[in-house]
Symmetry: C2
Subunit: 474 residues, 2 copies
Amino acid sequence: MAERITPRDVDYSRWYTDVVLQAKLADYSPVKGCMVIRPNGYAIWEKIQRILDEKFKETGHVNAYFPLFIPESFMKKEAEHVEGFAPECAVVTHGGGEALEEPLYVRPTSETIIWSMYKKWIMSYRDLPILINQWANVVRWEMRTRLFLRTTEFLWQEGHTAHATEAEAEAEARRILEIYRCLAEDYMAIPVITGRKTENEKFAGAVRTYSIEAMMQDKKALQAGTSHYLGENFARAFDVKFQDKDGQVKYVHATSWGVSTRLIGALIMTHGDDQGVILPPRIAPTQLVIVPIWQEATRARVLEFSERVYQQLKTVFAVKLDDREQYKPGYKFTEWEIQGIPVRVEIGPRDVEADQVVLVRRDNREKVTATLERLTEQAQKLLETIQMDLYRRARQMQQENTFRVNDYQEFQKILEQGAFIEAHWCGGGECELKIKEETKATIRNIPFDREVEKGKCIYCGNPSEGRVVFAKAY
Amino acid sequence: MAERITPRDVDYSRWYTDVVLQAKLADYSPVKGCMVIRPNGYAIWEKIQRILDEKFKETGHVNAYFPLFIPESFMKKEAEHVEGFAPECAVVTHGGGEALEEPLYVRPTSETIIWSMYKKWIMSYRDLPILINQWANVVRWEMRTRLFLRTTEFLWQEGHTAHATEAEAEAEARRILEIYRCLAEDYMAIPVITGRKTENEKFAGAVRTYSIEAMMQDKKALQAGTSHYLGENFARAFDVKFQDKDGQVKYVHATSWGVSTRLIGALIMTHGDDQGVILPPRIAPTQLVIVPIWQEATRARVLEFSERVYQQLKTVFAVKLDDREQYKPGYKFTEWEIQGIPVRVEIGPRDVEADQVVLVRRDNREKVTATLERLTEQAQKLLETIQMDLYRRARQMQQENTFRVNDYQEFQKILEQGAFIEAHWCGGGECELKIKEETKATIRNIPFDREVEKGKCIYCGNPSEGRVVFAKAY
């Protein structure tokens, strides 16, 4: 903890790793490419789980659990899907001391195993829709890994729904994207761009992929969640048909969607500063931490008062009382700053006399005094203000670093310093790939709310109907 | 759903499978030995998770997540542990399209990977205790599988704690066993025997293993949870030492403990009847289901009244309103009976007129009328009564089928009809193994609350200090 955090402007990437390790959010494991999510990090994941799980259930979804292993032959049933995922799979070849007849893939995603079950469960329109979500671990072999952002194993939720019509499935995919947007913006204070992925960038096996895209502090993009309309692709691969009300037998329409522990990386990279993590109050597992400041003569009084404050705050907030004897207040301040607790509550002997506490904001270090009588109310307001300020700051950062560009030379120049670029694009996959080759920028998505604007493709000059968002991405 | 459930006295084992499948708790998957936990089953698991997670947190535990994969060399560091687990592991030999240098075991339990991390995190007494729990999937290759009870992959929680002293670790192991007892008895209405496992039956790598053991309706035992004091075994294997307050460097003491989705099997086999599952109200994801009974002329009135009842009950209970148009009430009754919802709320036209509903108990089919005014209170009482009755009935079953036996011939005879047998045992592993060979009965545990009673070993006649519990087990 005494170690120094590399400042962001010295080395952003090292800053990120320093923060994750020193805030004890995660640690490297002895298994190549896999990380350990430590209690501080897992507590954030639990908050994300609770928020999403409630929203999924409110919209009629239920949870279930499907096997970790997928027979090789299942992976191969959907052509695009196997091409996209098989090369990055971990493969079990032995079990119970014997070689297996058929290798088992550790799930990289569960469409194939789930649709093999839907085949058993769906006969009639009465069996639809199926709205199932799964909280699970998945494995995608990675060569270059980064804590939370890209690891061989990660935790996520994956929704897999089955519908009678395209319209219903499409509405489902969009409904979920809105839940993801809400989680990112309203809880995690991460502004996102919602839109549709291009053909090149869509999910392997999808008809349409939608995403939320966020800008990190180094002005690179991070895809924070995706939702797919899968059409009849998996229904055809697994022969899942139903008898409709009109008596006709039809293929089922599918969606799938997921967010992962990667969101914790997005959270750190959106709000953190050179002192460590900054957690928005609505996602913070601990919102306030009380640090009593005493000397031998004032010890009893200060601790007794702190305990009273703790009891008062605890009824409304997620609060910790740090009354550890073996550490000095300064040490505690630093520790909680690194971990990003939104508000520190300082209580010294003079505060006890005045029946007050000092509230210190983690994000801008502003201090404000609060009497015990008005403490709950003031803390509530302060936390709300911090939440809003963090969002506003991040939104401003994103806006200030987003540029409308019409010229490819300018495009390349601006991209170098890090940016989101709104540019015209002809819709052709070739232009998209050329731009990627030459600049490393990809089309993050085609925003839902883009203006209709006639223009010329930034690469080939052919006509375009509107701008798309280009950026380098994690 | 129209299928018949095999009666218990015809074939208990088929009854169990019929119930699990028809109540849609789980389904067979195309992956050998792995099951799908369907939404009805997973909802029970979520209840178990919420109850345990709260109790773990109240007692100072935090959640974390460790890698799914364990390098082969790690598994081999604790001699007994590898001997116990390696033969039943699934092994990943390929990843990202290439053969791995070192095979990775899919975790059968996480002691080795976790203690390799504790090595990094523990230096001083200040770092202790570590009280970490993990919710995860594990894999143990199984030849003969049964839904929930024994599957190659299952879900569980595994606690792994590190302490400065044996006394502290021992207290932790016992504290957790008490939490498991409370979950089983007070929530799931499953009476259990708490006690210590014999040397032969303890966990591979433990010094002492404690367990809770329940009697199923076929009078076989089911181990429903275990808690281990691991001594310094894993600390020595992974070289985890700490500097104590007295300046000395010592090995860390460990515990581990877990319960799994197997508990859902125990629940079904403890309470179910020939009509299906019976869920104790405190663990039931849905406690009451409202079934309106109408004809065309009364439809609007009955549905409007049912909706009012639903709104009233929903503020206090987990309640469902089954207003599906395409099914008749009789069909619905059967469906909810199979699924074991504790109370059915029937509402017909005459009930509407009388401003009342009919409450029907799932466990004994007793009907009682309740006016709307007193409904909440009556439902509350009824659910509590059902909870108590289920526990009492199960406890009585267990007591009536537990025998004190002093003669080995009698032992064998009684065992054949199914029973728990309290018998004297000399403490020798050989007698224990001989009895197992000859009768298939194992010592379930040495109960904490057994009387001190001088006696003679049921097998060899050598002196014994008290009785232990023998039974055939799942």
